[in-house]
Amino acid sequence: MHVEERDRGWPRAQRTTQESKAVLSTAAVLNALGVGCVALADELARFSRPGAIAAYWLGLGLIFIPTGCAFATCRNMTRAVAAGVVSIFALATFAVFECYSPTRLTFSDEYQHFKTLADILQTGHLFSPNRTLPVSPFYPGLESTTAALRDLASMPTICAISVVIGVLHVMLTVSVFALCTEITDRPAIGGLATVIYATNGDYLFFNTYFSYETMGITFATLSALCAVKGVKANNPTKWGWFVACCVMVGIVAVTHHVSSYVAVAMVALVGIGWLRNGAQAQDKRWIAVGLIAMVACVGIWDGIVARGTGAYLATTFRNLLPGAAQHTLPTSAAAVVSVGTTPIASVKQIGVSSTIDRSWEYLWAALVAVLVSLGAWKCLRHRDTLATAGVTIAAGGVIGVVIAFGLRVASPNGEIATRLLSFAMIPAAAVVAIGVEAVLGPNRKAGGLRSVGVLALIIELLVVGGVEAGWPPSYARLPGPYVAGGRDRSVDLYELTAAEWVRKHLPAQSLFAADTTDAELLEAVGNVRTSNSVDVAYLFDSRTVDPQLRDVIRRLGIEYVLVNAQLAGKVPANQSLFPNDPFEGHYARGISGADLTKFEHVRGVTTVYAGGPVEIFEVKGLYADLP
């Protein structure tokens, strides 16, 4: 850009800068309006008023569309202004996340990591066991950073969490922009690629959760960025970038397993590209040494410290991949049905994602597939479209996108594809942005109405499709009243207060039976254990506390039962209510209120806590006199 400034003369270049700043201001104002609309949508949703979902989509449109159009129409945008627009976009998207639940954690995944954080803060040591997510303590990068900030700054824990994930969200967005800019050598394309990346299903929420992937994916991107910068830099600075790259991989290794593998893969791709394009003999040795060091770093951590990672990942992938074992209705269900309890449908009901969600998801995938193909075709035709250092990593990203789409088609569960896409799209977004540019045409008039219209349509479709495909699902996309079996919408103050009471007043590691959300909160906040036996469902679904049920409670050694009356009469949103629910997918109606209150007047059962709809019963007396 400085060369252009010299060529064109100062006033012209300065005017260009000022035009860019006008774009920056406009994007900032529209982004702020977008955040305002989303905050309004959240407020309407909390009171179950109409118009919430419309305000939500309008808000997202005001954030995504002007930002994307700014990059596509302002061709002479400087790197600094582009970075400014991206930073404001990152702040706006983080504000969208923050507006959902600004004063406490809401998403169930976050409580799994909150448990690790609470253990670090309580014991002052790492690696305390965490039953909700057993691998979490062995990747304590995020939690230890948060604990350090909280202790050093004497902040409340929730503030420290917000600050850390906010900084990480902005870092991820800016580093995706920087990487795509390095890959394409054009800040405007880098910025457009960032907006396209942000339309992937996990960007807005899942990769902003207080979860180890939030930090892992950020530092994985930074490691790839350092590698690309290193390859492009001159000799004295080159090695500084490579050292930074190794440090980043080291941080990822102790933060998140999959991110560390992706980081090594991305750096290896950059290294391969460098080997093919002009690396000296001496450089080749250093590439080999660097890669071996990174692989060793990740391997040592996973092999010695986090030894359960392999088994955990294998189980997770088995459950998510095609052909995963599904719950079948147990034969004993007939007995439960016969006593007139929770109506069980013999035919499995529709799962988490509705037909509309899936349609939008497929539309998003189709659009990305077309654009990535166009972009790849353009890159193949014009070899100078991508920077030499970025060709291999971009190609790797495109292959990753293709694999993700293949998995999505083959698997009924879209989660693994969405998770893979959040990594693969980092470099592939640059290729998609080049595809968008190809759609708009090379000779378009900058700022032309037609270009803006086409681009706005593309971005709107990508945003809606990406959000519909991602997490949280449609029933939890906005905050609001309690939703049975709604995971993120099943966490409210009643459950949290009960879990906090349990932590203060009941013996640690007591064994509870509870529904899924309450079980997660009890483990994470209450510091007790919960049973994940299939039989837990019968404790809630049966009408009376008969000898058979007493025997089940005794056999499992359950000491307390937490009953949440908000479950009564509601069909679970995700067709599952308990940690290991035998009736998953078979709920025709909700559990009746009578089934849930059956413990109240049973001899041997004591009510130890009552708060709003949540009651905790001590049931040890039920089997005290049994042999």
Binding site: P11, Q18, A28, V38, R46, E98, L152, A153, S154
Partner: protein, 269 residues
């Protein structure tokens, strides 16, 4: 900053700006500790338009340094307002942590504000005066646009923050207000009827056992009537319980039938 004519001068200007920034941050931190902290953002509304008008009227050279100084102070004030809004108001505490974060936010925002509002110096080594004489006509509207950019950016950022703050207040307003009752030994039961709560802890029979009454939102005025202390004695208690606090009632008798706490009322606010 108009006196900077060479690279050494530029460096000194940058260094001086950082010094001023740090000094302003300190002043603002002291200000924030007082009641006037909330007024921190207000000067910005007056100062930046003032700079624009001064530039337009050509009198900026006269008032330049003072105005730039004021802009920096105002920028820091905005930084502090953000910290006040986010940390102090949302959480209700002022401590060393929020001061540290306040300092960081102040430096970041103040430096950005100062950079946006200061005169840009060409990279080519030409003196500012020479540049000004050559490009005087172009510079006036450009300078105005710079300040407008700063104003718009600041307004947008404040708007975004306002949206998040509104969300915080909204969540606080919609959180359920309820009391919860628990005891480790014995049985507790609670019935709610239009804000009037009755608690029956008739089965609590262990001496020294505490009945836990938690208040999740408040402050609340809790009145507990007819608390039996044993031997037929009755005790009425009225206690104000702050937000998220708890009232503990200790059971002092054993083996008596009937309620220990027969009635409990909660008046919110």
């Amino acid at each position: 900053m108009q006196t900077c004519r060479n690279s050494a001068g530029l460096k000194w200007a940058g260094f001086r700006r950082v010094l001023v920034a740090a000094a302003c941050a300190l002043v603002c931190e002291f200000m924030r500790a007082g009641v006037v902290a909330w007024l921190g953002a207000i000067p910005l509304l007056f100062v930046i338009p003032g700079v624009v008008w001064a530039e337009w009227l050509g009198i900026r050279d006269t008032v330049g340094s003072a105005v730039e100084f004021a802009v920096i102070v105002a920028s820091f004030s905005v930084g502090n307002a953000i910290v006040v809004v986010f940390i102090v108001n949302a959480v209700g505490t002022i401590d060393t942590g929020s001061v540290a974060v306040g300092m960081a936010a102040s430096v970041a925002i103040g430096t950005t504000g100062a950079q946006l509002c200061s005169r840009r110096v060409p990279r080519e080594g030409r003196g500012v005066q020479q540049h000004r004489s050559e490009e005087a006509q172009d510079e006036k509207p450009i300078a105005v646009r710079k300040y407008l950019t700063a104003v718009v950016l600041t307004a947008a950022m404040l708007g975004m923050i306002a949206a998040v703050v509104a969300a915080i207040r909204n969540v606080d307003a919609t959180d359920p207000r309820f009391i919860s009752v628990g005891a480790r030994i014995g049985s507790v039961q609670m019935n709610t009827d239009q804000g009037e709560l009755s608690v029956d802890v008739s089965n609590v029979e262990t001496v020294g056992e505490r009945v836990w009454i938690g208040v999740t939102a408040g402050p609340a005025l809790i009145r507990a009537w007819n608390i039996e202390l044993g031997a037929g004695q009755m005790w009425n208690r009225e206690t104000r319980v702050p937000v998220n606090d708890e009232l503990k009632v200790t059971v002092r008798s054993k083996g008596r039938s009937g309620s220990i706490i027969k009635e409990l009322r909660v008046d919110w606010g």
